[in-house]
């Protein structure tokens, strides 16, 4: 059975458009320090997806840098979806910037796929008003249609139409990475299967046996079929959840709160039935009887948090639209209808390593604390490597990393081989053990010799005299019982602003404390202590 004939409307570089850039601005949108989208002008300057921010700014110093704001992307994309809605109902938003719908009805009405695509591309070009270009792809199945949209050329009015039945001819020469399943395609490439055709030629049973469910899905897509066999997707009738809103809701923040509970309720219901949802319809009804419906699709299964996000974005799009398009009253009913469901494969918690119940529990607690104190309040360490104290380990927000994923990394038994950064030689690093207390900003101290004068560093890099007394930041005087140094570090001597020249000492005082003190720019600083 072939897949449903689908039209995909794709607006190029949507995150950049949503950030408010014109098409000739040199701009890029970043998530977690990596480029996720770049404007056409930026691409010419060599900015590509996945590039680090620093590298991107090196290639293109006048690059405009934006953080991703998906809520805004959806809100602005709603204008485009509303245009498409004039031609057909039941549009599903795959992600902001891309939507899809079945063409069977509308193409027959408007006189064929070509006519419909031309109509749509003109109407969308009007609403986009030159901010970006639109590409339209029509093929059997949403996967092939999305690839067709990407293959569409601007000069052919931005439309690519793959005739019915010839979808495999279109798909088979494409590289296997088009599946966008990095773990699977990585293995396939190493097996020498470079095109979708080569992968599709394998027997389906062997693919299922070797690569499991993910492999089967990829194989079906490569053959121009739907990812899932059609029998697995009949939603049981009573899975929708809805809520009556009294008083009616007019603000997005109120609606977001409701969306969260509703999404959790939906997930519980789905779990109870042992299914997961791949497409959900968000329905809202206003005081004056208007019914707003929008479908959202997700490649994997939609989790409660993902559904809640999409509901919030969608409501934001509806409630904050231009006054002419805005619903005329507050929302009185909100419903989530799981439109396509698949049997939930479940998640097997790891027995050895991997994701454990403890990780999940911890992640939930950290999310709670982040709710209390702010998103950056909980941080987890990552190895970075460096010469200065405190450079070896960087703290990153726990919200930005997958806590379970981290645990998959090899944990070495001895500290010497934990990560690349630690293993790399950093000449000038203090010898082990590392001091356990680092002062956020160095404390101004004084190191005196036997005569009571400040010790200084000679031109040959030696201490002018043996340190005898350490005067702490709180003016307490401690007798020095043992010391060693100076260890000289001269960094970035070529850069006037960032160059550092310092001499470090280890000092043990008569109270039993050990400290790292440093002489830099004519002053003594306490930088760390062995607590």
């Amino acid at each position: 059975m072939t897949a449903v004939r689908t039209m995909v409307v794709w607006c190029l570089d949507w995150p950049v458009v949503a950030a408010g850039c014109e098409s000739d601005d040199v701009a890029a949108v970043f998530v977690a320090n990596r480029v996720v989208a770049a404007s056409a002008a930026a691409r010419v300057a060599g900015i590509e997806r996945g590039l680090r921010r620093r590298e991107a700014q090196r290639r293109c110093p006048h690059l405009l840098v934006f953080d991703r704001d998906e809520a805004r992307e959806v809100r602005i994309f709603e204008e485009v979806v509303r245009v498409v809605e004039r031609y057909t109902p039941r549009i599903e938003v795959t992600r902001p910037g891309q939507c899809a719908f079945a063409t069977r009805g509308p193409s027959r009405y408007f006189g064929g796929d070509h006519a419909l695509a031309d109509l749509l591309s003109e109407a969308i070009a009007d609403v986009l008003a030159g901010r970006t270009e639109v590409r339209i792809g029509v093929a059997d199945g949403p996967f092939a249609a999305a690839l067709a949209a990407r293959a569409a050329q601007a000069e052919r009015t931005g439309c690519a139409i793959i005739e019915p039945g010839s979808v495999t001819d279109f798909l088979h020469p494409l590289p296997v990475t088009a599946l966008e399943r990095p773990e699977l395609t990585d293995v396939l490439l190493r097996l020498g299967l470079r095109t979708l055709g080569a992968f599709a030629a394998l027997p389906a049973t062997d693919v299922l046996g070797r690569f499991g469910v993910e492999g089967r899905e990829g194989h079906r897509l490569a053959n121009g079929l739907d990812a899932l066999p059609p029998d697995g997707r009949i939603p049981p009738p009573d899975l929708d959840v809805s809520i009556e809103l009294d008083p009616p809701i007019e603000r997005v923040d109120q609606a977001a709160f409701v969306a969260k509970t509703l999404a959790e309720q939906l997930e519980q219901q789905l779990q109870h039935e042992g299914v997961a949802c791949t497409r959900v319809a968000i329905e809202a009804e206003t005081e004056h009887g208007e019914l707003l419906v929008r479908l959202w699709r997700h490649e994997g299964a939609l989790s409660a948090a993902a559904v809640a996000d999409r509901v919030r974005w969608q409501l934001d799009g509806w409630l904050n639209a231009a006054p002419s398009a805005r619903p005329s009253g507050g929302l009185i009913r909100l419903a989530l209808v799981p439109d396509e469901v698949i049997a939930a494969a479940g998640r097997q918690l790891g027995f050895w390593g991997g994701e454990t119940a403890a990780d999940e529990r911890a992640a939930r607690a950290f999310a709670r604390v982040q709710g209390l104190l702010g998103p950056d309040a909980v941080r987890v360490p990552e190895w970075s490597g460096g010469r200065q104290l405190g450079d070896e380990v960087a703290l990153v927000s726990a919200a930005a990393v997958d806590l379970a994923e981290r645990s998959l990394r090899p944990v070495a038994a001895d500290a010497g081989s934990i990560g690349v950064g630690v293993e790399a030689p950093w000449p000038g690093r203090l010898p082990r053990p590392a001091p356990s207390l680092l002062h956020a900003s160095p404390l101004l101290v004084d190191v005196l010799d036997a005569a009571g004068d400040a010790v200084h560093i000679t031109g040959r890099g030696l201490a002018s005299a043996a340190p005898r007394t350490l005067v702490l930041a709180d003016r307490r005087r401690l007798r020095v019982t043992a010391w060693a140094g100076p260890w000289l570090v001269e960094e970035r001597w070529w850069d006037a602003d960032r160059s550092r020249r310092q001499a470090r000492f280890q000092i043990v005082t008569d109270d039993g404390g050990a400290r790292v003190v440093m002489r830099e720019s004519g002053q003594w600083w306490e930088v760390a202590a062995y607590d």
Binding site: A365, I418, L438, A440, A466, G512, A514, Y530, D531
Partner: protein, 257 residues
């Protein structure tokens, strides 16, 4: 000495109890520490639901000792959360055996929300290291301790540098106090710090009431925290008096359990 008498005969008894008892009672479930350090704790490890106070003299060492106690737990998959301990160099913690994949650092919260934050982490993380804000009410700490008891997490109260007030220390089930610390490896103008030897006094409530002293590496030449050698019961007058007071009580509790 005359008052070491009962101590000499005691060691076989816990062994015998261990052999006779078939079950692990809920209050005896522990978060394991390195084998060497298990002697520090009456339960042989960090008893779930208990609280442990760590304080240090001017020589410091509380961060190193805390890391040594967390090492085994984090390496075996337990999560540890550290609340309000500023400036902890986790590279040092990793040298002392802490698995950085299982540790989370929480910024120092406002004093008003300290208890809420710690309570949220208790239960989710097996070990919660928390530095109470200055002048915290003892009742608040007691509430947090009660939650740890209920949820089976280990609460480590550390004050950074000797700021753990006397009241908090008295509330803890086990109190580890770093008394003196001697560094090795650093000469006058030569060498570098290699290891530190410290005397740690272990006191506490119930089974831990009898003060004991241990010589620990904080850290040792291999970077880890370990025991140098056990020092016999403290010879000081008030310590032995406390030991005599605690003796019968300890025995009574054991026979009930």
């Amino acid at each position: 000495m005359f008052d070491t008498g009962p101590v000499v005969v005691r060691p076989p008894v816990p062994e015998r109890i261990k052999q006779l008892k078939p079950l692990v009672l809920a209050r005896e479930q522990v978060v394991a520490v390195a084998d060497e350090l298990s002697a520090l704790f009456p339960a042989g490890g960090l008893r779930r639901g208990s609280s442990i106070a760590i304080s240090a003299g001017p020589g410091g060492g509380s961060r190193t000792l805390t890391a040594g106690l967390l090492a085994n737990a984090t390496a075996t998959g337990s999560w540890a959360a550290v609340v309000g301990v500023p400036g902890w160099n986790l590279a040092a913690a990793a040298e002392q055996g802490v698995s950085l994949e299982r540790i989370a650092i929480v910024d120092r919260p406002e004093p008003a929300s300290w208890a809420t934050v710690v309570a949220a982490l208790i239960g989710a993380c097996d070990v919660v290291v928390a530095a109470p804000p200055p002048r915290v009410r003892a009742a608040l700490v007691a509430r947090v301790q009660a939650r740890a008891r209920e949820r089976g997490s280990v609460l480590m109260i550390t004050g950074g540098n000797a700021t753990a007030s006397a009241g908090l220390v008295r509330q803890a089930d086990v109190h580890l106090k770093i008394e003196s610390r001697t560094w090795r490896g650093l000469g006058v103008g030569h060498g570098h710090l290699r290891a530190a030897q410290a005397t740690v006094e272990v006191t506490g409530r119930r089974q831990a009431a009898r003060p004991r002293r241990f010589d620990l590496w904080l850290p040792g030449p291999d970077g880890r925290v370990g025991v140098v050698s056990t020092v016999a019961d403290a010879g000081r007058g008030h310590d032995t008096a406390a030991a005599r007071d605690a003796g019968p009580r300890t025995r009574r509790l054991r026979s009930v359990g």
